[in-house]
C-alpha cells in the first residue's frame, strides 16, 4: 500500500521551517530571504523517487521565495500588489504551520505526549448485551441491485486513489540542466535580458530559470541589474562590463 511511502515526504513549509529553526531565526521576510538559497539547494537534491506533486509544491514555494529574495537583492524591484500578497501569505502560513508542525513542538508535541501516556479510556461495543441470534432486520429497499450499485461506487473510489503519474511530470525540469544552459548562453552573449531568456517559455520553466539565476548569483558567476523600475532585468557573467 503506497500511503506509507508517500507520507514520509515532508513538504516545502516543513523544509523552510527546518532551515529557519536551524539558524534560530524568527519567521520574517528577511529570514526567509536568508534561507532561500538553502531551500533551492534542497530542491536540487529531491530525487526521482519524490512524487511529482510534491516537487510541484516545492517549486510553487520556491517561486514565492525567489520573489522575496529578488526584492532583497534588487531593492529597486517593484512588486505588484499580488506579488506582495503572495510573499505575505507565505510568511503567515509558515507562522501558522509552526504552531502545529511536528518538528517545532507546539500542538504536535502536546498530542504526542498525550498519546505516549497511554492513558486510554475504554468503551463498550455497540449494544454489548443485545447481540442475540435470530435477529434479521434488512432495510425494505435492500436488494441485490442496490448492493451492486454500492459496490461499484466503492470500487470506483478505490481505483481513483491510484496515483496518476505523468500529469505533473512536465513541471519538473532539471535545475542542473538549466544552469548549464544558462552558462553556455552567457558565453555566447555577454548580457541577456531576463525577458529574452524567458520568452516563449512555460510558467514552470520561468520559475526554474529564476532558481537557476539565483543559484548562479550565489556562486557569483553572474550579476543582475535592473536599470529602471518595472524595467527588464539584465543578467550578465561576472567580470564583464555592460555595453549599454
Amino acid at each position: 500500500m503506497y500511503e506509507v511511502k508517500l507520507e514520509q515526504f515532508s513538504g516545502p513549509l516543513d523544509k523552510l521551517l527546518e532551515l529557519i529553526e536551524t539558524k534560530q531565526l524568527e519567521i520574517t521576510q528577511v529570514s526567509l530571504a536568508e534561507v532561500t538559497v538553502d531551500f533551492l539547494e534542497f530542491i536540487k537534491t529531491l530525487g526521482k523517487n519524490v512524487p511529482p506533486g510534491t516537487i510541484a509544491d516545492f517549486l510553487v514555494a520556491a517561486a514565492k521565495l525567489v520573489l522575496l529574495k529578488s526584492k532583497v537583492l534588487l531593492p529597486d524591484l517593484e512588486l505588484t500588489e499580488e506579488e506582495e500578497g503572495e510573499i505575505k501569505d507565505l510568511e503567515t502560513r509558515l507562522a501558522l504551520y509552526r504552531e502545529f508542525a511536528a518538528r517545532s513542538g507546539g500542538a504536535s508535541r502536546e498530542l504526542s505526549q498525550l498519546w505516549m501516556r497511554k492513558e486510554i479510556a475504554y468503551s463498550r461495543p455497540l449494544l454489548f448485551t443485545a447481540l442475540e441470534k435470530g435477529v434479521f432486520y434488512p432495510s425494505p429497499w435492500l436488494t441485490p441491485e442496490t448492493l451492486a450499485r454500492a459496490f461499484n461506487k466503492a470500487i470506483a473510489a478505490l481505483e481513483a486513489l491510484t496515483p496518476e503519474p505523468g500529469k505533473v511530470k512536465g513541471l519538473i525540469i532539471s535545475l542542473e540542466g538549466k544552469i548549464r544552459e544558462l552558462l553556455t548562453r552567457f558565453s555566447e552573449a555577454v548580457a541577456h535580458s531576463f525577458r529574452n531568456l524567458t520568452k516563449d517559455r512555460s510558467r514552470s520553466e520561468v520559475i526554474v530559470l529564476f532558481l537557476a539565476i539565483l543559484h548562479l548569483l550565489k556562486e557569483r558567476s553572474i550579476s543582475v541589474e535592473q536599470s529602471e523600475q518595472f524595467g527588464d532585468i539584465l543578467v550578465r557573467k561576472s567580470g564583464t562590463i555592460s555595453k549599454e
Binding site: 500500500m1 475504554y122 463498550r124 461495543p125 455497540l126 449494544l127 454489548f128 448485551t129 443485545a130 447481540l131 435470530g134 435477529v135 434479521f136 432486520y137 434488512p138 432495510s139 435492500l142 436488494t143 441485490p144 441491485e145 442496490t146 448492493l147 451492486a148 454500492a150 459496490f151 461499484n152 461506487k153 466503492a154 470500487i155 473510489a157 478505490l158 481505483e159 486513489l161
Partner: protein
C-alpha cells in the same frame, strides 16, 4: 492516580468485561488479594446504590456483573428497536456490498477498500443479522466477515455468486487487494 480506590478499578474492568467476572480473575487482574476484592465489591455495591447511579452490581456466588438497574432493562429493547428501525446508511450499504461480493473478507481489507474504519458499521450489520463473523485463522483475535444465510434468503438467491455481475466485480476486488485474502 495511584490513590484511585480499588472499587473504582473494579467497576472499570466489570464495565469492559460485560459478562459475569469471578472474584479470582478480578483479583488477578487488579493484582490484589481475594479479601481486598471482596471488600471492594462491597464498597462498589454500596456506592452504586447510594449515589443514584443507573447501574448496579449483580452477585452470583463468586461471580459479579455490572448491569443496568432492573427498572431500566426496558431501555435495552427500546434502544435495539430504534437502532434496527434506522435505515441502512450509505456507509452500511457500501460495507455490506463489499462483504457480499467478497464472500469472506477480513476487516483490514474492508477498511482498506472503504478508506475509513468500519468497526462500528460491522457491529451494526452483525446486530441486524445481515453478516456473520468468524475468527480469522492465523490472525490472532481478528475476524473475517461473510454475508449471512438470511440475507441470501431475503434476496431469494441460492448462492452469492448469483449476485448481479458477480464474477467481474469479485474479480475487481481480488485485483485491487493484492496479496490479501
Amino acid at each position: 492516580m495511584e490513590k484511585e480506590s480499588l472499587d473504582a478499578k473494579l467497576e472499570a474492568i466489570l464495565f469492559i468485561y460485560g459478562e459475569p467476572l469471578s472474584l479470582q480473575t478480578a483479583a488477578k487482574i487488579l493484582q490484589v488479594s481475594l479479601e481486598e476484592i471482596r471488600a471492594a465489591r462491597a464498597v462498589l455495591e454500596k456506592r452504586l446504590l447510594g449515589s443514584g447511579s443507573g447501574l448496579t452490581l449483580l452477585t452470583h456466588g463468586e461471580n459479579m456483573q455490572l448491569v443496568t438497574k432492573p427498572a431500566f432493562a426496558q431501555f435495552t429493547e427500546a434502544i435495539l428497536k430504534s437502532e434496527l428501525q434506522e435505515e441502512l446508511t450509505p456507509a452500511a450499504l457500501e460495507t455490506l456490498s463489499i462483504i457480499a461480493y467478497a464472500g469472506l473478507v477480513s476487516r483490514s481489507i474492508i477498511d482498506y477498500i472503504r478508506g475509513v474504519n468500519s468497526s462500528f458499521i460491522l457491529r451494526s450489520l452483525l446486530i441486524r443479522g445481515l453478516i456473520e463473523r468468524s475468527l480469522d485463522p492465523g490472525h490472532g483475535n481478528a475476524y473475517r466477515y461473510a454475508p449471512s444465510f438470511e440475507l441470501l434468503r431475503h434476496f431469494g438467491l441460492s448462492r452469492f455468486e448469483e449476485l448481479p455481475d458477480f464474477s467481474r466485480l469479485n474479480g475487481l476486488l481480488q485485483k485491487l487487494t493484492p496479496g490479501s485474502s
